[in-house]
């Protein structure tokens, strides 16, 4: 049943569910190609409003729809009211564009954005009527391929996927589709198809790898079957300018997160914060040049009608031509009411200057800065190259320029943290508040706000802190109370990241394949939408760990030795273990490592090993 067979059944359910706009398709720029002979469904495993703005999906959607005779359609996880109604009515999970059951597609690509969406993957597969484990799928089922930020430790969700793409998808998806089509044409069975896919660079086929244990049951590594590569290395694009990003993205009808036109201006970040997985796995820095950025912004605005454009990346204010780009855009957008936004700001004079440039004449939304730690010692440990003077100077300039709100991000539980470091956060916030107050005219001081958001450090795979222990829950709670006592109350809004959530994130971030059983058990017990505060249930997860005989603390709260095999050792981001270990040692001695985009190579090896270069302003540094 192709070509929209399910719409009449879907529409019958809409009157009784919240926000039917999630399910209706027909958005501007959505692609409808009924005639294509290879069909891919791109799935974001959360609701439409969370997933719609995902740029990776937008890029893959445009790429796949540009291939001859290939169509890509979208699907999202329906909210609980809709999935219940669908199950009751026997309606399977469907794609938006043609309202076709996902099981009818050749390929289902599911992006895996974040640890707390793992349970949703099972919900997607089950709602689509597919066996949740790859090993139970037959020739009749689509290939289920994952990808995204979580692919750098895919083990906890590996058994649910036929394959996982590691790294950037622009070129890889075409290779995957070509390999799959060739396999179909030569009539290969599922096993042979998977073997053929494993030959595509960056593609990890979990079924071809086995975790091994010694006689005591200790994990000793993952081994590949003969014919599959021992290590799967990430895909990376050498030149972003060679891949024009989609300038006709889908314009949603309903309110979604990041409801604006996004243009990626650079990829990667080499500031080298030691806790940051994105900074390690998306190296090296590749900037797009100013001309195509400006061109794409104007073209995208014209064909979407958005009133806001966001220049996106891990660290947009690091772009070497940002000032030029902003000045040109300002000139072109004058009088249109269209605003430009920068998602992340540098904690220095330049960052504030850029904020001033984007909000000139318009409304000043809050300023967001991330000092991450409260003391210089701690900031040196994590290689956050930011001083207190930088921070206070930025706050002063911003409040003098008319800002009245600043939001600060901090973490507790970083390696080597002491109570003094924790109290240092409260003290620093106090000084920020005083500086902000001084810089604000007395009559306006009532509206002054400092919002403080504190999360618990979660060690991530593929970072210098991947060997470190996450703080146990009781200790997190104790430090939270130390912080609370040192935090000024007046004018400060304190917001905590739930420590139970951080604990589960920590287990998922560094767990091995055994964690898949736990995810399945929790999902069978009703876990979905764990990233939604009202849905997250720590005791359900505790019960699932218990039922599977797995001690989550042994994953999250245990320090590993450098010699110990790690569950993700067969996945390479191109950054060498030698470099990660060296960075870890430098962390302990508080030694800084400069940004290799602007100073000398720090020796992470990614450029040499993957044959890519730092690209600044569109020009490879060579």
């Amino acid at each position: 049943m192709t070509n929209g067979g399910l719409w009449p059944q879907v529409e019958r359910l809409l009157a009784s569910v919240e926000r039917p706009a999630r399910y209706i398709d027909r958005e501007w720029n959505a692609v409808h190609q009924p005639g294509a002979d290879y069909r891919a469904a791109l799935v974001y495993p959360d609701t439409y409003e969370i997933g719609q703005a995902n740029q990776a999906i937008a890029i893959l959607y445009a790429t796949l729809n540009g291939l001859p005779a290939v169509v890509a359609e979208r699907a999202y996880l329906p909210w609980l009211d809709m999935s219940t109604a669908m199950r009751d009515a026997g309606v399977p999970l469907f794609s938006l564009e043609s309202c076709t059951a996902l099981s009818e597609f050749d390929l289902i690509g599911i992006t895996v954005p974040y640890e707390l969406t793992y349970s949703n993957i099972l919900e997607v597969l089950d709602l689509a009527g597919l066996p949740i484990r790859a090993s139970e799928r037959t020739e009749a089922h689509p290939l289920v391929i994952g990808g995204g930020p979580s692919a750098f430790n895919p083990e906890p969700f590996a058994p649910f996927f036929d394959a996982v793409l590691v790294g950037e998808g622009e070129e890889a998806v075409a290779d995957i589709v070509a390999a799959h089509r060739a396999a179909k044409q030569s009539g290969l069975d599922r096993a042979a198809t998977l073997m053929a896919l494993s030959a595509v660079p960056g593609v990890y086929v979990p079924a071809l790898y086995r975790p091994e244990y010694d006689a005591d049951g200790a994990f000793i590594g993952v081994s590949a079957v003969p014919g599959a590569p021992d290590v799967v290395t990430k895909r990376v694009l050498a030149d972003l300018d060679a891949h024009r990003p989609p300038t006709a993205p889908i314009v949603p009808f309903m309110d979604v997160v990041h409801d604006r036109f996004g243009v990626e201006v650079l990829r990667g970040c080499t500031r080298g914060c030691r806790f940051c997985q994105a900074g390690m796995v998306y190296r090296p820095v590749r900037e797009r040049s100013a001309d195509p950025i400006v061109r794409d912004v104007l073209a995208g605005l014209a064909c979407t009608g958005y009133d806001e454009v966001s220049l996106t990346s891990l660290s947009t204010t690091d772009h070497s031509q940002l000032e030029e780009v902003l000045r040109r855009l300002q000139r072109r957008l004058e009088g249109t009411g269209v605003s430009v936004s920068l998602p992340s700001l540098r904690v220095d004079a330049f960052g504030v200057e850029m904020a001033r440039l984007v909000s000139a004449g318009g409304k000043k939304s809050g300023l967001t800065l991330a000092p991450e730690a409260g003391t210089q010692r701690m900031r040196d440990v994590i290689n956050k190259n930011v001083t207190e003077e930088d921070l206070l100077g930025s706050v002063q300039r911003a409040f003098e320029a008319g800002w009245r709100r600043v939001k600060l991000y901090f973490m507790i539980g970083l390696p080597t943290e002491t109570d003094d470091d924790v109290r240092g956060i409260g003290e620093l916030v106090g000084r920020v508040f005083r500086v902000a107050r001084e810089a604000t005219p007395p009559a306006q001081r009532g509206g002054l706000r400092v919002a403080v958001s504190v999360s618990t450090f979660v060690p991530k795979a593929q970072t210098p802190f991947q060997w470190d222990a996450q703080l146990p829950l009781e200790e997190v709670r104790r430090r939270q109370s130390v912080l609370r006592e040192s935090m000024p109350r007046k004018g400060v809004e304190l917001h905590w990241h739930d420590s139970d959530v951080s604990f589960l994130e920590g287990v998922m971030a560094r767990g091995g394949r055994e964690v898949a059983d736990v995810i399945e058990a929790a999902w069978r017990d009703g876990a979905t939408f764990d990233a939604w505060t009202e849905r997250f249930n720590p005791s359900r997860w505790a019960a699932a760990f218990e039922a599977c005989g797995i001690e989550p603390a042994s994953i999250a709260n245990r320090e590993r030795t450098p010699a110990e095999p790690l569950p993700w050792d067969h996945i390479s981001a191109g950054v060498s273990k030698r470099y990660l270990l060296r960075e870890r040692e430098r962390a302990l001695t508080g030694e800084l490592t400069p940004d290799c985009s602007f100073e000398s190579c720090a020796g992470c090896d990614v450029c040499q090993d993957l044959g890519v270069d730092i690209v600044l302003g569109g020009v490879a540094r060579g």
Binding site: I24, M254, D307, G337
Partner: protein, 230 residues
């Protein structure tokens, strides 16, 4: 209207799948259509400038509308046909503008001017014959008043006033259609499908409302004549 601004009144439809959009979603979509069309829209003054645009009475989620209206202020005069052409080209088919004219600044706003709305309520089900529906409807309408609870509010509609024309029932494939004309007042307007649903329930008729369409929104002149805003 600031000097040098031109008030363009545009008629559009909210039909097909897009009837599932909320009023706010429709407002955002139409603003985006106007921006895509590249019309020289005026901006409001103030803290956070945005497009100067005003809409007629809201439609609920799930209710289609065949003749809906908006006013958008332009900073430059643009030929009506040209403006309409680019608007339609930049809109999804189910939300396409299809008529426009310039109106004077003295004319009252769409929400104030539009007081009459015509609806079609489509009914399906085993007992959805015109006969059954007509009888059911008559008994509810003859009561003279209609009470509803909505979001904790109790409202009483005087049907002689709320229904300026008699509701009519006609045949459709697999059921029937009720044509209802409603007068909108300051206390809100009667939702026609509520009237129909209540009638079917009260008379225990095994039929349900399939969908509702507002077929017209009209201005009542001081002489009591109903006219379209464009």
């Amino acid at each position: 209207m600031a000097e040098g601004e031109f008030r363009l009144r545009v008629r559009y439809g909210k039909v097909g799948r897009l009837r599932w959009l909320s009023h706010l979603e429709i407002v955002h979509a139409l603003e985006r259509i106007i921006r895509r069309a590249g019309l020289p829209y005026a901006l409001t003054r103030g803290f956070s400038p945005h497009m100067k645009v005003a809409f007629g009475p809201a439609l609920p989620v799930g209710t289609a509308g065949e003749n809906e209206y908006l006013d958008v202020w332009l900073t430059r005069y643009t030929g009506v046909e040209d403006a309409l052409g680019v608007l339609a080209a930049c809109a999804p088919a189910d939300l396409a503008p299809n008529l426009a004219r310039f109106v004077g600044e003295k004319e009252p706003s769409l929400t104030a001017a539009i007081t009459i709305a015509r609806y079609e309520v489509a009914i399906e089900g085993k007992e959805s014959s015109t006969e059954n529906v007509r009888t059911a409807l008559e008994s509810v309408v003859s009561a003279g008043t209609f009470e509803v609870e909505h979001k904790g509010k109790h409202k009483v509609f005087d049907l002689a006033r709320s229904l300026p024309e008699e509701a009519r029932v006609r045949d459709r494939e697999d059921g029937s259609v009720v044509d209802v004309t409603v007068r909108m007042g300051s206390q809100g307007s009667l939702r026609p499908e509520l009237l129909v649903v209540r009638a079917l329930e009260t008379a225990s008729v095994d039929a349900t409302v399939l969908h509702t369409t507002r077929t017209d929104t009209l201005i009542e002149t001081p002489e009591g004549v109903w006219v379209r805003p464009v």
